[in-house]
């Protein structure tokens, strides 16, 4: 499926500010599941970009505006083609999961991190699911995914960046980042490598059906990927209660939100900022027919 994505962030300041310096992570990843046809970033006021691929494989666009400005707009436009996810044929056991080579390769996705720091309740819940599924890794992981999807209610504004996964687990509500962190935590708590994914999602309408129009205004999205011995990474979107598919466009992954935050930066000045983020996605019917 082909999508044209327009990501826009606009900062406005009451009084002019200076020396803004930022990193943008909004470019779709190129991997087996998606193919980037076009990507382009521009800012107003204009600035020179330094683009690089970071440690996790995500494209980063670094830019800054030194002189006084009262607003800063960043627009990233991408065209990307997605393919359906391959079905994982492997049926690994927890013994495979415990192999030193497998653990060594995934160490960074097994340990705690700033936003994935779980307590005993999460471990206990994960252990429960594992108990129910015996040695079946994929069965256990899917059960953990359902646990988050069924337990939690999507409630914008109920949480904030930096909320503890234990609180999300206890309060049973939050937004996509929180659910992704929670699923990652549940997996790691029983020794299953899992990572946080930032991306875009061409959403369904409120009834859960395919939207009538081909152009949507959405938000940046987050989900999780779980390492399956012999099967690569399994993408799971607890917010939308589904496995990752052609409507998911991945930007990048990391240990948690901090490694792939869409935009981070600083500026100097007297005032606080107002922030407006919009993501427009257009589905290209032509490409869809070709597939």
């Amino acid at each position: 499926m082909r999508f044209d994505i327009r990501y826009r962030t606009a900062f406005t300041y009451d009084d002019p500010v200076v020396e803004s310096s930022n990193e943008l992570r909004a470019a779709p990843a190129s991997d087996a599941r998606q193919h980037v046809l076009h990507y382009d970033v521009r800012t107003t006021p204009s600035s020179r970009l330094v683009s690089y691929v970071d440690y996790w494989g995500t494209r980063v666009d670094a830019f800054g505006v030194r002189l006084p400005h009262s607003s800063l707009e960043v627009i990233a436009e991408a065209s990307v083609e997605t393919r359906p996810t391959n079905v994982i044929a492997a049926s690994p056991t927890f013994e495979d999961m415990a192999s030193p080579a497998f653990r060594d390769r995934h160490l960074e996705f097994l340990e705690r991190s700033a936003h994935v720091d779980w307590g005993p309740d999460i471990t206990a819940a994960a252990e429960d699911k594992r108990g129910e599924h015996g040695d079946d890794v994929i069965g256990t992981v899917l059960a953990l995914h359902r646990l988050v999807a069924n337990r939690c209610t999507y409630t914008p504004g109920a949480t904030y960046v930096g909320v503890e996964v234990d609180d999300v687990f206890a309060e049973q509500q939050g937004v996509c980042q929180d659910f992704a962190h929670l699923l990652v935590a549940l997996c790691r708590s029983i020794g299953v490598p899992a990572r946080y994914v930032s991306g875009y999602f061409f959403a369904y309408d409120e009834s859960g059906a395919d939207p009538a129009e081909d152009e949507l205004e959405v938000q940046t999205h987050a989900w999780a990927e779980v390492a399956i011995p012999g099967g690569g990474w399994l993408g799971l979107d607890p917010t939308n209660r589904q496995e990752v598919g052609v409507r998911h466009i991945k930007i990048g992954h990391g240990r948690d939100y901090d490694d792939v935050a869409p935009l981070r930066g600083v500026y100097t000045g007297p005032s606080e900022h107002e922030l407006d983020v919009t993501v427009q996605m257009r589905r290209s019917a032509q490409e869809q027919q070709q597939q």
């Binding site: 020396e19 020179r48 691929v53 490694d259």
Partner: protein, 484 residues
């Protein structure tokens, strides 16, 4: 007139000046002769001269928490440490070899294929879980691969007199200002003795450092790269050294707020506008260097600095993320890294070290905990250590528990009985334990500054050489040739 060494005891330790046969070592004979010619009043007079030199030159460090502006001097013992030319040749070759391999390792890790990991020389997990590992540093170029532009390698001598590496300091090693100031003072306090010894000079350090910094300047810098020293500021305990080095090199001493990044180019703010900066010798830790990619609440650093370096518009030395290679757990693998990258046997051995994530080694260590030294891998400056032979049962039990809970967090080492050196205590000489921190500069080539900072534990029997805990220092004389 007695010999100043009359009654001097080595007490069974390896002594720098006196052999196990009780005879002076050859390269200390002339010093002993000269010192014996001084009567106690003369020695005292020279000590007073030393004190007044230090005071008037303002070589001091501020005592924390004291607002009176009063500062103290770092005690310099009048008796220099002497290293013979041949011995130094060996040390210098060993340091060059070690720092070369460490630079290779860092370059491999941050800008290369990560071959040492892929080939199983250093465990991957050890690297990625190291405290000083900086994922933000990936892909940032380091001209000539000089990631540790300045390294301070702590050496000790064991009971056999073998020099061993105790610790690598690859981030912001300090102390070189004392080396230079000690030398400047000694040439005035003992001018004749000094002149007779044909001591290799150290006072070119500023020029050597500046040369290396210019060599690593980015291609965009042109003929006369603009170099600055970046300090956290006047309240930092090493501020004196930062200012000293800037002065020695004749370059600007700046704070983070003096610098600004525009279109990924670094400038300093002057009264006549912005002036481009090409090379930054930074003495601020990684985490505080750039709030965009490191700790976001840091106001010490320069927003955008890391990506300016990534764009090749400025070189930051030492490079970002060097802490991964002076992690004490990675330290244990340095001899292997030397063999791997250079195909040579290490000239300077490590102190015998046990890694505690290895089940067999851990079992042995827990068995002999009261005989060993245990160190946290990320620490420095002697904090959080267990010295087994001196520990109480409670301390041993606490460490036993900590090691079992976090085997990655600690290493264990055999106790090294630091060598001793004659030291002026009152008006006579007594043996005191010493170590040595030589400084190694890497630009296009590697240069070892002759000697280094000899630190001495002034308290009788103490092994602690840190200045904050009763340590002093000695001038370190590397002899030009074997004439003495």
């Amino acid at each position: 007139m007695g010999d100043i060494f009359d009654g001097y005891e080595t007490d069974g330790f390896f002594d720098e000046a006196v052999g196990s046969d009780g005879m002076l070592r050859d390269h200390y004979r002339r010093l002993a002769e000269r010192l014996s010619a001084f009567d106690p009043e003369e020695l005292q007079r020279r000590e007073q001269l030393r004190d007044s030199i230090f005071r008037t030159q303002g070589i001091t460090f501020t005592v924390y928490g004291d607002d009176s502006g009063v500062e103290r001097t770092f005690p310099l013992d009048l008796i220099p440490r002497i290293i013979s030319a041949s011995e130094w040749g060996q040390i210098s070759a060993g340091l060059t070899q070690r720092v070369t391999a460490l630079n290779w390792f860092l370059e491999d890790l941050y800008a290369g294929e990560r071959a040492a990991i892929n080939d199983g020389i250093v465990p991957r997990w050890l690297v990625v879980s190291a405290d000083g590992y900086r994922r933000q540093a990936f892909g940032i170029p380091a001209p000539h691969g000089a990631r540790c532009l300045v390294a301070g390698i702590d050496l000790v001598r064991d009971g056999d007199g073998t020099y061993r590496v105790l610790e690598d300091n690859l981030r912001n090693p300090s102390g070189v200002s004392y080396v230079l100031e000690n030398r400047a003072a000694m040439t005035r306090v003992l001018p004749v003795v000094f002149a007779e010894h044909h001591v290799r000079p150290v006072d070119h350090y500023g020029q050597s450092l500046l040369r290396a910094l210019r060599e690593v300047a980015p291609a965009s810098a042109g003929e006369e790269p603009q170099v600055v020293v970046l300090t956290p500021g006047v309240y930092n305990s090493a501020y004196f050294e930062h200012a000293f080095l800037a002065r020695q090199m004749g370059v600007e001493l700046v704070e983070g707020r003096d610098l600004v990044v525009d279109e990924h180019v670094v400038y300093m703010r002057t009264t006549r506008g912005l002036k481009r900066v090409d090379v930054i010798y930074r003495r601020i830790d990684d985490d505080f260097l750039d709030p965009v990619v490191f700790s976001p609440d840091s106001i010490l650093g320069v927003p955008g600095l890391v990506n300016a370096a990534r764009a090749g518009n400025v070189t930051v030395a030492n490079a970002f993320g060097n802490g991964v290679a002076d992690d004490k757990a990675v330290y244990a693998y340095v001899p292997e890294l030397i063999r791997y990258y250079l195909g040579e046997d290490p000239i300077l051995p490590n102190v015998t070290t046990y890694v505690l994530w290895d089940d067999d080694q851990r079992a042995e260590v827990l068995d002999r905990l009261d005989e060993l030294v245990v160190k946290p891998v990320a620490g420095s400056g002697g904090y959080g250590m267990l010295i087994g032979p001196a520990a109480t049962a409670d301390e041993l039990a606490t460490f036993r528990k900590q090691i079992q809970e976090d085997p990655r967090g600690y290493i264990a080492q055999e106790v090294v009985e630091l060598s001793r050196h004659p030291t002026l205590i009152g008006d006579r000489l007594e043996g005191r334990h010493v170590d040595l921190r030589p400084f190694v500069i890497t630009g296009e080539t590697v240069e070892v500054i002759p000697g280094g900072l000899t630190r001495v534990a002034l308290r009788k029997g103490s092994l602690v050489v840190n200045s904050s805990q009763g340590g002093g220092s000695k001038d370190t004389w590397v002899l030009e040739d074997e004439r003495i």
